[in-house]
Amino acid sequence: MSVQLINVSHIYAQGTPFEFAALKDIHFSIDKDEFIGIIGHTGSGKSTLIQHLNGLLSPTEGSVVVDGVKMGDSKGDKLALRRKVGLVFQYAEHQLFEETVFKDIAFGPKNLGLSEEEIENRVRDAMEVVGLDFETYKERSPFELSGGQMRRVAIAGVLSMKPEILILDEPTAGLDPYGKEDILRSVYQLHERQKTTVVLVSHNMDEVARLANRVIVMSSGEILMDAPPAEIFTQVEKLNEIGLGAPDIICLMRALKKAGMDVDDQIFRAEQAKEEILRALKRGEGAPCSKI
């Protein structure tokens, strides 16, 4: 499926002294099979943007087009969109409320009016994706789990709706490195195996650099850049200008090139950087660095 935002603006508290334009004339679309990373500061409009993608917010101006059909303001339209576009909020574990993990993950499918059997299948599948053993955890209270596990239950609660597009707002915020890896791995596998379109909102450049095949940079309510990661992360100056900073690896590669080493300074993933440095050292044996 595809979702398009056409000239979308969103103004909070319009007509009051608190009026605030969170989105300004946004033009943007999501297509099948993409893994989109959205980066930007707090307050850059990321959260407002993603809430337009599943009908939680309606544009003050402009329109949302889903599969070629313009979204109306009717509740039916919005509910239909929310079924197809899953949204995992930041600190998603704060939304857990049921007595057992099973019941909480089943909340979404139940709202869809599915049969008991289908609900159980979906809960089972969703738990498998996030790496929670069904038999071990289904009867546990979500509130007895660790922070990372609670986060995974919450994500499973959205996955069980079987969304075609999955949006995650800072899914790794506040977790330790191990917990972070777990979640990113699940999300990536979901994208690879089930062909779910993923939109990952993150402050973490490295996360986005590793996973996304398209990156959107937002700043004060506007889309500043929208391109494949290689094109985004090589624009170090521009990223620094809006205070986002570039990934470490690209900074290293540029510094090496500046110091006279013959390396490709467009590389931003660690694995590639290693290969490139080893190659360059073999190639340039004996030639000294011009300056350090």
């Binding site: 608190f18 599943n54 409320f97």
Partner: protein, 273 residues
């Protein structure tokens, strides 16, 4: 955004009334409410209305805001009026079915409505001109003078302060949880009242759990910052009276004197009826 909603009805403008010490305003309002019940003749009511008008004029608050509070209790005023019109004995002016409308009933009703309006507007002026924070401060000081509740004064005001501090945070959180459940297909708008009430559980449970966690962490943070109740505690801002406060207290005394006079001095008694 939701978190910018002001709590209470504080109307922030510059005025002599805004600048008064909150204690002065609390005492004045308290006294004003009591003397309103002393009024039993035209002069008394005129005094009550006169002092109120003076206060409104000095507060720089648009009349629209001043009288908005009356809207909230309009029903109560109406009920009072209707009861008074029909049950007060006197000369029957006309009848509606078996109900008699008397001249005394009409007059009584009118004055009752006036009294209630003055009562509400009088207290509104206090909340409109005092921020919830200084109101809390003022109340703590005032409660400390009253035996019986003196020992709870600090705790009560600390509770109010924390409530004021967390209302915006919790509203934001409630909004976020509601959206998160909506994203999972929850429906909060359709269905019977019973269904709607049940649908709110997925919001209330996380909100409660979140609040308990906050309370727990806040208590720990307060303890870590050496909080141990109100004993031996000092304040950044000690409330202090200025010249205007002294004037306001004199006005209060004058108002009480005049009201008593209106009730007991034959000269000033222009009785109703």
């Amino acid at each position: 955004m939701l978190k910018d909603i002001t709590i209470g009805q504080y109307y922030p403008v510059q005025s002599k009334i805004h600048d008064l010490d909150p204690r002065t305003k609390i005492v004045y309002t308290f006294v004003y409410i009591i003397i309103l019940f002393f009024a039993n003749n035209y002069v008394g009511y005129a005094l009550g209305a006169g002092f109120l008008a003076l206060l409104i004029a000095m507060s720089n608050i648009p009349l629209k805001f001043v009288f908005r509070s009356v809207k909230a209790i309009l029903i109560i005023i109406l009920i009072t009026v209707i009861l008074n019109v029909f049950v007060t004995p006197g000369n029957v002016l006309f009848r509606i079915g078996s109900l008699k409308v008397t001249d005394a009933g009409l007059i009584n009703a009118a004055f009752m409505a006036l009294r209630l309006t003055m009562l509400i507007v009088g207290t509104s002026i206090m909340t409109l001109t005092t921020s919830p924070i200084s109101l809390t401060d003022g109340m703590e000081y005032c409660m400390k003078v009253i035996p019986g509740i003196r020992s709870y004064a600090h705790e009560l005001s600390m509770m109010m302060t924390i409530a004021l501090r967390f209302i915006p945070t919790l509203m934001e959180e409630a909004d976020k949880i509601m959206k998160a459940q909506k994203a999972r297909g929850a429906d909060f708008e359709t269905g019977s009242i019973f269904k709607k009430a049940r649908n709110i559980v997925p919001i209330l449970v996380p909100l409660f759990i979140g609040s308990f966690k906050r309370a727990d962490e806040l208590a720990m943070a307060m303890e870590a910052r050496c909080y141990r109740g109100g004993n031996n505690r000092t304040r950044l801002y000690e409330l202090s009276y200025s010249k205007n406060d002294r004037i306001a207290y004199i006005v209060t005394v004058v108002m009480v004197a005049m009201m008593i006079a209106s009730r007991f001095l034959p000269l000033m008694r222009i009785p109703i009826q």
